[in-house]
């Protein structure tokens, strides 16, 4: 009996740690890793289009999950263009016309700066647990990292992608690969994270390739140049007045 107790005590931690968390727990951990009170991101998009390559640089200020402000820094033609997302509304400001326009719902599917991302992608609630029911469908290895494969099914009708398949790093709880599907089951977009970086204790994607499967071209490379979390961002940044500044 004494021996049995000793063996059980020895193997119990191993049993505990090898236990797979539930799908809900995994996406909660993914959300926790992604979301912060505020975020300032300097990034560039390299758009590999049918006619060549373009690089668009931008700086974004994000507050919670609802509000964001983006200013485009390059190329020269796009410099000074700004976008403000407040809740489910999106405004854009063009310096050449000095006009601020609310982007209407039917324009949200348009590409952002000719990239493989749409305005709808920008408008999405980033909290996966708010939008999807999750189910673990397998395990795999992506970029030499062990991953869980989860299938996410939309909880609401109005969500842009009815189904998602995500490959989540078992240790870092970061999505390394993602396929986005329409209600019909058609694959719409693919995201492949190529490089990760650790910032303030979080693992975040440094480079990722977004590919709109329905669009010709070789996809859009997203490169995060810098990212800071939970910095104090003044409220005026998230106002329409700041678009014209």
């Amino acid at each position: 009996m004494k021996h049995v107790i000793i063996v059980l005590l020895l193997i119990s931690p191993a049993l505990f740690f090898s236990q797979t968390p539930s799908a809900e727990e995994i996406i909660k951990r993914v959300d926790k890793n992604t979301i912060s009170d505020t975020k300032i991101v300097v990034s560039k998009m390299i758009i590999h289009g049918r006619r060549g390559e373009r690089t668009v640089e931008a700086k974004s200020w994000q507050r919670n999950i609802d509000d964001s402000f983006t200013e485009y820094l390059a190329p020269a033609r796009e410099k000074g263009t700004k976008m403000l997302k407040l809740g489910n509304q999106l405004w854009t400001y063009s310096p050449s016309t000095d006009r601020t326009i609310l982007i209407s719902r039917h324009m949200l599917r348009q590409s952002v700066m000719g990239s493989d991302l749409s305005y709808e992608d920008m408008m999405e609630d980033p909290f996966l647990q708010n939008m999807y029911e999750a189910e673990i469908v397998g395990t795999d290895t992506v970029s030499n990292r062990s991953v869980w494969i989860l299938e996410l099914k939309a909880k609401k009708k109005e969500i842009a992608y009815d189904t998602r398949k995500i490959w989540v790093d078992k240790e870092r709880f970061v999505i390394l690969k993602e396929n986005l599907y329409a209600k019909s089951g058609t694959l719409l977009k693919q995201i492949d994270v190529h490089e990760m970086m650790q910032v303030e204790g979080r693992w975040v994607p440094k480079t990722a390739l977004y590919k709109d499967v329905l669009k010709e071209g070789d996809g859009t490379e997203m490169i995060v140049d810098s990212i800071t979390f939970n910095e104090n961002i003044p409220d005026y940044i998230f106002s329409k007045a700041s678009l014209r500044k």
């Binding site: 758009i47 289009g49 049918r50 006619r51 373009r54 033609r77 796009e78 854009t92 063009s94 050449s96 016309t97 000095d98 006009r99 601020t100 326009i101 609310l102 209407s104 324009m107 348009q110 590409s111 952002v112 700066m113 000719g114 990239s115």
Partner: protein, 410 residues
Amino acid sequence: MIKFLLKGLMRDRSRSFFPVLTVFLGVFLAVFMYSFLNGVLADMVKSTAHYQTGHLRIMTQAYAKEANQNPNDLAFIGVAKLLQALKEKYPEMIWTPRIKFGGLLDIPDEKGETKTQGPVSGMAVNLFSETSPEPKLLNIKKAIIRGSMPKQPGEILIGDESAKKLKVAPGATATLISSTMYGSMTMANFKITGTVQFGIAAMDRAAIFTDISDIQHALDMQDAASEILGFFPDDIYYDKQASLMAASFNKEFKNPNDQFSPQMGTLPIESGLTDYLAMIDSMAIIIIVIFVVAMSIVLWNAGLMGSLRRYGEIGVRLAIGEDNGHIYKTLILESVMIGIFGSVLGTLAGAGVAYLMQVYGLDLSFLFKNSAMMIPSVYHAQVTFGSFVIGFAPGIISTVLGTSIAGIGI
């Protein structure tokens, strides 16, 4: 003999009135229908060429595959060089670049906020150059309902219907929201100088007209165009010449391995009207055949009825020694005279009514309210030399044929 027969026909109206009336109506309908079809066809070809395809159209191979969606990301780059080459290679033709685009037209209020907004399709053409054929091809000056032609960069014309929907008048500022050639959202401010109505439903619903340089700048399309259109100098489409030009151009410039290399197509192919035009051509023959067959049957019947009434006359003529063959010949001669008389009257009346329709047109806009095709809403007939010839042969053949068959019966 002819004088004798003519007198007989004039004095005995029952012998001439009904057959002449039948021939008159038949010829009238044939001449009118022929002229109407001619006019409709000419209107259709002209408006398709002017507003849509030109007599020849050059696009990149990639653009041509999705041309109805105006995919300017696939537009042709290097317009100036290609125009120069076209002018050297085909100096007799008129070449003009165009950009077709879509977007939203946003009308600001006094604070610069959106007052109204609506989807628009637009066409950017060379408006300002004195040598540009576009104002004439598109008949822009005539189409202006309110305001005036743009005179300088940054000025546009918009469809009168759109202007009413957007509650905007000439003099107002409008912002075009569209996509650049590279897919970025772009905005450009314009001053509306006038509103236009072309009488083509698809154009009038949502049209912006602007100078091509403005749109090249707004859509980041420097030295680029959606298409380059070619027109014969007399504005008449010649299929054989056009096909030869397209073949020689494609041999020299089209590269199957480069989707952005240009390709040239002819009006019927570019507009998808090849089968339709062939069908319209055969319609004239169908009209004549139906006309000859139907009238022959009617006149055969009339001949039989008339001959029954003339049994006494024919009996007397046989009794006094006239042979069967001579009587048959006189009946045929009578029918030729009736045919000529009816055909002249029918042709004059048919051509007359068709001419009125050529001048005033027939407004069928109520039928094309939701049409997306570049077809005119007002149709005109077209009286040509053919209109004066088309009724004669069948008018005479049907009377002679009818009488010949009736004569055998007697």
